[in-house]
Amino acid sequence: MGRFLLRRIGLALVTLWLLSVIVFVACEVMPGDVARSILGPTAAPETVAALNEELGTDRSVAVRYGDWISGVVRGDLGESYAFRRPVDEMIGQALWNSAKLALLAFVLVVPLGILGGVVAALYEGRAADRAISVGGLSVSAIPEFVWAVAAILVFGIWLDVLPVTAQAPPGSGVLTQIEYLLLPALCLVLVLFGYLARMARAGTVEALDADYTRTAVLKGLPRRTVIRRHVLRNALLPTIAVVATQTGYLIGGLVAIELVFNYPGVGRLLVRAADQKDFPLLEGTVLVIGVVYLLATLLADLAYAYLNPRVRFGGAAA
């Protein structure tokens, strides 16, 4: 278990370092001239040169990367060009807001998705299964911002039952905050449901087909007991892994959702940074998103290993 954990963390660190290179190249090498890309094609060459000197972007790429990454390792992500504030501070606040929204979406979608998948598997091939599988897939295929405008239109304006901005007034209690976050969370739930249900369905179908299930049925256990004790226990394992991989996808979904609902989370911060060509803020945000994703998958691997003795005792999946 210890070695498994060390190996996993080591791999995550390598991935993270590669990610930092990719992000840095995308932000500071691809545009060529950073100041030029901020000021636009009409700015005078002297202005561009002056801004490059001020931002430190007149130095060589290697020096800049070294400078940036050594700061990142010490937890210093630099200062935002546009807002003149430390990037880590800005991301910290936004991350907390996004986490609240993501948590609400997960709390809603995980039981729903698992329930849908298990029901579909128990009625495999019949109408209920087709409805959940094809319906879930279709609902997932529609981009979040399309759901967001639909949700605002139906619940926020035509029925007028829920607020159309996601941020509750300052000092609101938990319930008010949840009320404000309900519509954006609903959009995330719609997009995540299909994948989760599909995984839960696949796991359940496999477990229903397994020898131990047949043995349990043949030795005369009631169907209920077989499903609860033999099928579900084994079926939910792969679903746990999927829940975590969806974290990355969830963050992608947050970008558009937070913009539509004007919610000050990581997604809106990212779009703002991109709009303003605020490269330190952009790099920091993307890197933090990568860290969150890797942490989530790491936790999922650990949970999976803990629940699955074959992995725990040095099996194939490690």
Binding site: L137, S138, A141, F145, A150, V164, T245, G248, I251, A256
Partner: protein, 292 residues
């Protein structure tokens, strides 16, 4: 969004023309496939012939007639510049149906090449490339697309390039899994013993046998490409004004929702929804046929 596919890689063995014909029959009998094909077919018709059949010029402003609700003159109403929403929705099919499949195609070609090489050679090349792939996969497609398009500047060409390149590692993973299942089979062994060179073994022997999963992956990726490009356009980093692109139309008009002007937002939203669902039904039909 990506790892879901990896958990259950589709690996099929093709046994000649007979099974291919059988598979085609299965696909054509599938109701989901046919429903998807009809919807996508309508949008393709709009993309090709749209400009010839629409009642108004999709680019013509009419500031005095802005934000008119749907009527017999303007079926879907007019937007904030007085442009006819119906004409813009019909002609708007063109951008997304050109850009998204091209991006998916680029990603499939590059990803298949990468997957063949890494799956066949294994070893250090494989390890290094797969780590880079993992790093790419740690970031949602929309986020990395946003960063890259900020750097290179958004246009139709850069959107195709960026989405194509972002899809490459994802497709490479699927193809790699399929190649791993093939590389130790006897026909590959035989080719190697004949002293065939690696490019021939990869392109002439293994590739034809993994075409099934590649085709399924390509169709699924078109759906994801529409999803990603529509989202990027909505964020303002995809297709640029004044194009009648659907995501861009929603971006330009969704602020008017709370004022009650729903038509310039709702109709392009419905267009995106029907197109992605159609493409996904087609992909679902193909997947089912190939998994048999």
């Amino acid at each position: 969004m990506t790892t879901v596919d990896d958990l259950a890689p589709v690996v099929v063995h093709d046994s000649g023309r007979e099974s291919r014909r059988e598979r085609l029959r299965v696909v054509l009998r599938s109701k989901t496939f046919l429903a998807g094909a009809v919807v996508v077919g309508i949008w393709i018709f709009c993309a090709v012939f749209g400009p010839l059949v629409v009642p108004h010029d999709p680019y013509a402003d009419d500031i005095l007639g802005k934000l008119q609700p749907p009527s017999t003159e303007h079926w879907f109403g007019t937007d904030r510049l007085g442009r006819d929403v119906f004409s813009r929705v019909v002609v708007g099919a063109r951008d997304i149906l050109l850009v998204a499949p091209l991006a998916a195609l680029l990603g499939t070609v590059l990803g298949t090449a990468l997957g063949l090489v890494t799956g066949y050679f294994r070893g250090l090349t494989d390890d290094v490339i797969m780590r880079v792939v993992d790093a790419f996969l740690a970031i949602p497609v929309v986020v990395i697309g946003l960063v890259a398009l900020t750097a290179v500047g958004p246009s139709r060409v850069t959107v195709v390039l960026v989405i194509g390149i972002v899809f490459t590692p994802i497709i490479a993973r699927t193809v790699r899994a399929a190649v791993l299942a093939e590389r130790d089979l006897e026909y590959v062994e035989a080719a190697r013993l004949r002293n065939e060179r690696a490019p021939y073994v990869l392109g002439g022997e293994i590739l034809p046998n993994v075409l099934g999963p590649v085709l399924v992956e390509f169709t699924v990726r078109i759906g994801y490409a529409i999803f990603a490009i529509a989202t990027l356009s909505f964020l303002g980093f995809g297709i640029q004004p004044p194009a009648p692109d659907w995501g861009l139309q929603i971006f330009e008009n969704y602020g008017l929702l709370s004022a009650g002007d729903w038509w310039p937002t709702l109709f392009p939203a419905l267009a995106i929804a029907t197109l992605v669902v159609g493409v996904n039904l087609i992909a679902d039909g193909l997947t089912q046929a190939f998994e048999r």
